[in-house]
Symmetry: C2
Subunit: 333 residues, 2 copies
DNA sequence: CTGTTAGCGCCTTCAA
DNA sequence: TTGAAGGCGCTAACAG
């Protein structure tokens, strides 16, 4: 059995209260020699406080939870995770992560959160599975919640938006201004199964609408590199191939560059390519990748929102951050 | 305040015991109408059992923990996560993930694990940070532990090995057999800072040793695509450029293919390229990527190991799985 | 079929 | 400077 505070207390010849005070660092004046005896006893037994018991008593877990779509993510997700871990460390919190890559996982994650696994939640771009309704269940459990994403969120949580529609439209207008008229869109799955276009897809349509361009080609495939390559190859082989591809992710755009070159065509002369994400990898492609994405890859402001809310005496009003995005023109367009 | 079982009991006009039995599904015969009243009351209050209290009482969390290096991982990691979540679901367990991308994170993770966040642990390839000594602390907390990785592990845990050294040597010998004599190695950081070569690097040296080839070039850069591109470019520009590159990851190998082509050279005519990982993306490069890696991307056997151990009455003997690896020759070599 | 009760391990107030 | 004791919310053994 794992050692308990009681066993440490017996070994040290003190009460469990003293053990608790010494090990949790709460300040109460404890004799130096007593303190040492407790520390020795704890070390000898390999004692670690039972967090379930501690959480029950303190009504706090001293943990925050990151809700992440998957582990095959983009570098941006990794940066977010690091910023969160770093600030959590500084505040004496641990971080646990829940993976939500399907509706079923979202439901399971909400149960775990409502069960009290953590004191606050940071939800990263899993809006397609973690619906507003499910999020509302999290918020109603009085969990401070920050959501990164452009979907609807329930009242009471902070939200971090990205102007992806607007900047995507800007990128597509740039393609149009070059004289491109057959612009195809390589979509992420979750943008497709909707009544009306949203996000990057909406930006695509908006730009073409503005210029009265009728021709639209939207195909799925931006979710992974292999699908993107295949989708792009399919487009290029079609009877009326595109002269530009706007891909909903940089990874898909890079696969598109490959596909164009493998088809014996040139980027950007024959086909222009633009991605979304502004990842570093766009700097090593040939030509370098034009992209739409965040100016800075830094999430300290987002994470600060979470800890502000976590440590506030009473719930602050819901706040919204809009992250600065921009279109970065490089060689591929 | 979050509702408690006591409040549900009062609303339903029953005892907390009945609430507990109804909601935890433990079988005890409960009247149909009573049961319904409890369910209604729970739903009305939005009750979710406090997991800290439940864990404390049951001495089980009904959770398993995945310890993962990072979230910018390879597709393989994602597959492992999915297989784990799936089987956990089937057994009524939740999954929480801890990120260990540094020594500091490893220490923090061990604390959290020893604090009892989960009932079992699956450690995925974080051997460089999560040392044998730290793992021993986890095992000594009586946590069933399965470790994926080729590093040393403490007694009492199951381990999953990959014959990466042997198959890497095979790949390099294949390059030698083609007449390549200036074979460079693109290394991951953690393989470099050692007294003696291990893993893929060891395979590289072994093959060259066998054939009495003196020339060795080892550079860092296989950890991410951008570094790999830069490292490969550096190699190609050196006075004595390689005629083959063995990269410690497929992602690095793919960057190397780009670098070779951007340098105006041909793959494999001028420079052969081989990676490690056997990821699907190797099928869409041009030429297709030769690689060293697992035959199947399936972790159900590994995950089963974990649940076997978790549900065993008494600790089974430590088991070892060796995953089948192979060299897959494709167009790049 | 249902209620009562004794803790799980820890923290923290109160008393000494 | 330290100890005694109650209780966080839940479960499971025991009573009825």
């Amino acid at each position: 059995m794992r050692p308990t505070a009681k066993q440490v207390a017996e070994l040290a010849g003190v009460s469990t209260a003293t053990v608790s005070y010494v090990l949790s660092g709460r300040d109460r004046r404890v004799g130096a020699e007593t303190k040492q005896r407790v520390l020795d006893a704890a070390a000898r037994l390999g004692y670690t406080p039972n967090q379930a018991a501690r959480s029950l008593r303190r009504r706090r877990t001293q943990r925050v939870c990151l809700v992440q779509g998957s582990f095959g993510g983009v570098p941006t997700d990794e940066r977010l995770a690091r910023d969160l871990h770093e600030m959590a460390d500084g505040h004496g919190y641990s971080v646990v992560t829940l993976a939500v890559y399907s509706e079923a996982r979202a439901v399971a994650a909400v149960d775990v959160l409502r069960g009290g696994i953590a004191d606050a939640v940071l939800v990263n771009n899993v809006g397609d599975h973690l619906t507003e309704e499910l999020l509302a269940q999290v918020v109603s459990a009085r969990l401070p919640t920050v959501v990164i994403g452009n979907g609807p969120v329930p009242p009471g949580c902070d939200v971090v938006r990205a102007p992806e529609t607007e900047v995507s439209a800007e990128a597509v207008e740039h393609l149009i201004a070059q004289g491109r008229r057959r612009v195809a869109f390589l979509a992420q799955r979750y943008e497709l199964y909707r009544d009306r276009p949203i996000g990057r897809l909406l930006g695509y349509h908006t730009a073409l609408d503005r210029h009265g361009i009728e021709q639209r080609t939207v195909v799925s495939g931006a979710d992974d590199r292999v699908s993107a390559y295949q989708a792009a190859t399919g487009l290029l082989r079609s009877p009326d191939p595109p002269d530009a591809v706007f891909a909903a992710s940089d990874r898909a755009a890079i696969s598109t560059i490959w596909a164009v070159r493998d088809a014996g065509l040139r980027v950007p002369a024959d086909v222009a390519v633009v991605g979304v994400g502004n990842i570093d990898e766009g700097l090593i492609t040939n030509p370098q990748l034009s992209t739409v994405g965040p100016i800075r890859h830094d999430y300290t402001d987002v994470v600060r929102l979470l800890f502000d809310r976590l440590q506030a005496e009473e719930p602050p009003p819901a706040r919204e951050i809009v992250r600065p995005w921009t279109f970065v023109r490089r060689g591929s367009s």
